[in-house]
């Protein structure tokens, strides 16, 4: 009877466990195994090469490190420009202001759209010959600014970073707004009675209480932006000449372009380790910041 009851309990988690084992645990193990092989994905023979793939990534793959730098650059723009914008918008909407729900609705439209749709529409807006941005620049009297935004090496990466921020700021905005609304209003009223001005209240109440939320948004931004790539497929495909190439695009290219499955897995592992280290550092940093305030 008891055994039957226990078996019944396991039946409830069995479907989840089976799917999870096949589609998460097995691939997880497989990534580490394949990373040590040279394999084209089809042939029955896999050539064991030890850590050679990792050696090649670290010492020879210049494009890989360049893609890493590009991702870091986009992440930097997202952390500074995108999150500052999100925070300012959240501050503005936290006030007793009309149309608050309207703004909140609109700001979260870009995040719900797919990266493919966003990328293709912006590609069309930024198009060098027929794009509306260039046509406006001419109309407004700045013809010298007209360029092929996405195929000019000087502007391509910045355009991608800005469109990424455009698509992403709604997330930060919603989380910041939720955080601001948990701050008890009495704190501000008490501070006002004590004669504090707006800046002092912002500096001494809002900022310290928002530190944990800011850290959370920062971690989410870094993890999300470093791994972003679909938007880039839709906008530039990594071009011109690797100027907008990012790590996950490289993994995809190793797999589909050069049929080096083992190398693609090794790239995935290296990148995963870097991401884990970054989020660990950020986590420790946020613990420290909490202690200070």
């Amino acid at each position: 009877m008891r055994i039957k009851l226990t078996l019944q309990n396991y039946l409830f988690i069995l479907p989840a466990l089976i799917i999870f084992s096949i589609f998460y645990i097995y691939p997880f193990y497989k990534v580490f195994q394949l990373g040590l092989y040279e394999w084209d994905g089809i042939s029955p023979v896999k050539l064991f090469v030890g850590l050679a793939n990792f050696k090649e990534i670290i010492f020879e793959d210049k494009i890989w490190w360049r893609s890493m730098l590009n991702a870091a650059y986009i992440t930097f723009i997202a952390l500074t420009f995108q999150n500052t914008l999100a925070f300012c918008l959240a501050l503005a909407c936290d006030r007793e202001i009309r149309l608050r729900n309207f703004y909140r609705t609109i700001f979260f439209i870009p995040p719900v759209l797919s990266e493919v749709v966003v990328g293709l529409v912006w590609q069309w807006i930024l198009d060098g010959n027929y794009g509306i941005l260039n046509s406006w620049l001419i109309k407004l009297g700045f013809p010298h600014l007209v360029r092929n935004w996405l195929s000019d090496p000087r502007t391509a990466l910045n355009c991608v970073a800005i469109v990424h921020s455009w698509k992403g700021f709604g997330w930060g905005f919603l989380i910041f707004l939720a955080g601001l609304q948990t701050i008890p209003r009495e704190l501000y009223e008490a501070a006002k009675v004590d004669g504090a001005d707006a800046w002092q209240m912002f500096r001494n109440i809002t900022i310290p209480l928002m530190i944990p939320v800011m850290m959370l948004v920062a971690i989410l931004t870094v993890l999300g932006t470093m791994q972003a790539f679909v938007l880039i497929i839709a906008m530039t495909g990594g071009g011109p000449a690797y100027h907008t190439e990012v790590p996950v695009l490289r993994i995809l290219a190793s797999m589909r372009g050069s049929s080096r499955f083992g190398y693609a897995c090794a790239q995935g592992i290296s990148f995963g380790i870097i991401l884990v280290i970054i989020s660990f550092i950020q986590y420790r940093f946020s613990q420290k910041a909490r202690q200070i305030y």
Binding site: T6, N9, Y10, F12, I13, P15, A16, L17, I19, F20, I22, F23, P27, F28, K30, V31, L34, G41, L89, A92, C93, I97, Y103, R104, T105, F107, F108, I109, P110, V112, L113, S114, E115, V116, L120, V121, W124, Y130, I132, W166, G170, L174, I175, A178, V213, L223, Q227, F229, A234, P247, M255, R256, A264, C265, Q267, G268, F271, G272, L275, V276
Partner: protein, 282 residues
């Protein structure tokens, strides 16, 4: 009296500045969408010259052409099929598991639960490579079933987490009453727990719907045949074919985007709840 007016004037001006700031950002959010829809209603001749947001002549037939000639009808139905199957699968599988994690005792319960939670935290960039190999081995690549199972797995951990947190908070009295009436465990899950969990099920359904609808990379590596592709992959794969028919591409983009925007506007409450809950759980 003077200082009162001064104070009010300052407040009004500040409010105006804030509204200008908010409105200008809102405009940049909406502009690309309006531009997309506007372009989808122009003709191949006017789309490169006419820069008006709302074209004078509306060519609605572009949508018919995109649906039929462009094949977007097919891709649209594929996406709907995948989305519905995956979301039903996730709701079923994850609510069963979450219920067990919340209510029952069994050996290894915590270990298994934390394994699911760890999957939410550990990023495996490029996990599509081993998945491709695996599906090839199982002869599930280029099949709807292979894609659906992969996508169920993608949404599993978060959904189990949301549902378990909810079940933990709901009182057991109702279930106890039902048990006395002779309801089986499965019956308790189906007749008592699931109906009670409607608010959180809505969050699970909405988030996973958006996620599957917008998914790209797994569909890209899994599907070779044109007949099976969902919208997102078809858009990037056949983009080149539309160079001669730009308004049709824009119509295709609109067809892809409108359902998502509708779901978002109708189910906004649950989306905001989901996003902010994640933030507060931390």
């Amino acid at each position: 009296m003077n200082s009162f007016f001064y104070y009010n004037a300052k407040k009004v001006i500040l409010n105006i500045i804030i509204h200008i700031f908010l409105l200008s950002i809102a405009a940049t959010c909406l502009f690309p969408l309006i531009w997309m829809i506007g372009s989808s209603l122009k003709t191949q001749q006017t789309v490169f010259r006419d820069f008006s947001l709302i074209p004078k002549e509306m060519h609605w037939e572009n949508y018919y052409l995109a649906w039929k000639q462009g094949g977007f009808g097919r891709y649209f139905l594929n996406t709907i099929f995948y989305t519905v199957s995956v979301v039903l699968g996730i709701v079923f599988v994850s609510s069963l598991a979450a219920y067990a994690f919340s209510r029952f005792e069994f050996v290894g319960k915590n270990l298994i639960f934390y394994m699911f939670m760890a999957a939410m935290m550990i990023p495996i960039p490029g996990s599509f490579v081993p998945l491709y190999v695996l599906l090839n081995k199982l002869h599930l690549r280029n099949t709807p079933l292979g894609y659906i199972l992969c996508m169920i797995n993608v949404g599993l951990s978060t959904s189990i987490f949301l549902l378990k947190t909810f079940f933990d908070k709901t009182p057991r009295e109702l279930e106890d009453a039902a048990r006395i009436d002779g309801c089986s465990k499965l019956g308790l899950w189906w007749h008592v727990a699931l109906p009670l969990a409607k608010p959180v099920l809505a969050v699970v359904v909405v988030f996973n719907t958006l996620n599957v609808w917008n998914e790209y990379v797994l569909a890209l590596i899994i599907f070779d045949s044109r007949q099976l592709m969902p919208l997102q992959v078809a858009l990037t794969t056949f983009q080149g074919e539309f160079i001669t028919q730009y308004p049709l591409l824009m119509a295709g983009l609109t067809i892809t985007a409108i359902p998502v925007i509708l779901i978002y506007i109708l189910m906004q409450k649950y989306i905001i709840k989901g996003v902010t809950q994640g933030a507060i759980v931390e």
